[in-house]
């Protein structure tokens, strides 16, 4: 089934996208309300939380260009050295711009 991209169709497409996205925003919390929070479940949630970030970032680093890798590597080093997010992010962006300019 397909929706034509007329004005009405586009509004329908946007409404569907909004509902699907809202379901993802509500769904995790809603499903958790049926789960008893045992220590194991809490362990799962806590490990999963930071793993989300790693799972977003790993392909970005593996598949990215030299700029992406320089940015993530520099941010990691500065963050581990200083524990200050803003300098780490700024250094990462600078590293991406510089490496793309140079290579």
């Amino acid at each position: 089934m397909a929706i034509e991209t007329t004005t009405t169709g586009i509004l329908l497409i946007i409404a569907i996208m909004a509902l699907v996205t809202l379901a993802t925003r509500f769904g995790g919390t809603f499903l958790m309300s049926f789960v008893t929070i045992s220590p194991r479940v809490e362990g799962f949630i806590n490990a999963m939380a930071s793993s989300v970030l790693i799972a977003i970032l790993t392909p970005m680093a593996f598949d990215g260009d030299i700029g992406a890798r320089a940015a993530l590597g520099t941010t990691a080093l500065v963050m581990l050295a200083t524990r200050k997010p803003l300098p780490a992010i700024a250094a990462g962006i600078l590293a991406a711009a510089l490496s793309r300019y140079l290579f």
């Binding site: 089934m1 397909a2 991209t5 586009i10 509004l11 497409i13 946007i14 409404a15 569907i16 996208m17 909004a18 699907v20 996205t21 809202l22 993802t24 925003r25 509500f26 769904g27 995790g28 919390t29 499903l31 958790m32 309300s33 194991r40 479940v41 809490e42 362990g43 799962f44 949630i45 806590n46 490990a47 999963m48 939380a49 930071s50 793993s51 989300v52 970030l53 790693i54 799972a55 977003i56 970032l57 790993t58 392909p59 970005m60 593996f62 992406a68 940015a71 993530l72 941010t75 963050m79 581990l80 997010p85 780490a88 992010i89 990462g92 962006i93 590293a95 991406a96 711009a97 793309r100």
Partner: protein, 238 residues
């Protein structure tokens, strides 16, 4: 079973301070919003349609992906599948906030989730790992990010992209660097590091061999399983 004693009070002053806390990163979101607005009108969306999409969907990666599927018509099931797959990370983010969210009454609980997105969730998750309960950043930070996404889209549809070459300035890496800084700012126990290695490995395997857009959920669940079987020796109090 749940919300027997709603006891988390959202503090208006803290909501405002978290709004300001995410104002700097929101400036970059404006640039991405402009890129989306420009791409959308180039695909044939009317300016108000593109803006409406940003207002009610508020999920950049899935909005860009939808444009890739744009034509004289858009196939319904693939559209829903792609939007769901890209945004399914919200399911995990919402689940991870549940220990705090269950202390809010349902109306507020789901109300603040309307503006849940990567950046404000990453801060809430990092604060929680460090023993601070911060749902105000979901609301205040979410509102400033949402507003920036709207303003950016409007600029893009009416004035075009703000920058000729955002990539050459490294601006495409802002969110990646931000999320990495948040991850590294949390506690790094051996358990967490093993979970990260498993998560990264599973994410790459999914990225290479499973259908597109599944790698975040696969990696995150794999990391979560490590936490399920390997408990912290001492329970981490609030």
């Amino acid at each position: 079973m749940m919300s027997d004693h709603p006891s988390y009070q959202l503090e208006p002053a803290k909501v405002r301070s978290q709004f300001l806390r995410l104002l700097p990163i929101s400036l970059f979101v404006v640039a991405f919003g402009a890129a989306f607005g420009l791409a959308a009108v180039q695909k044939g969306l009317a300016p108000l349609e593109a803006t409406l999409m940003s207002v009610v969907v508020f999920a950049g990666a899935s909005q860009f992906a939808t444009l890739e599927m744009w034509g004289n018509e858009v196939a319904l099931l693939p559209l829903m599948a792609v939007v769901f797959a890209i945004n399914s990370r919200h399911l995990l983010m919402g689940a991870s906030l549940f220990p705090m969210l269950r202390e809010l009454p349902p109306f507020k609980r789901y109300g603040i989730l309307v503006v849940l997105t990567d950046a404000n969730w990453a801060i809430a998750a990092q604060d929680y790992q460090n023993g601070r309960r911060n749902l105000e950043v979901i609301l205040g930070g979410g509102l400033v990010l949402w507003f920036a996404w709207l303003v950016g889209t409007l600029l893009g549809v009416y004035f075009g992209g703000l920058l000729q070459e955002p990539r050459s300035l490294g601006l495409d890496m802002v969110l990646g660097c931000f999320l990495l800084a948040m991850a590294l700012g949390g506690r790094k126990t051996p358990r967490v590091l093993v979970a990260w290695v498993v998560s990264g490995g599973a994410a790459m395997a999914a990225y290479w061999w499973l259908p597109a857009h599944t790698h975040v959920v696969v990696g995150a669940l794999a990391g979560g399983i490590v936490g399920f079987f390997w408990l912290e020796p001492k329970p981490h109090g609030h």
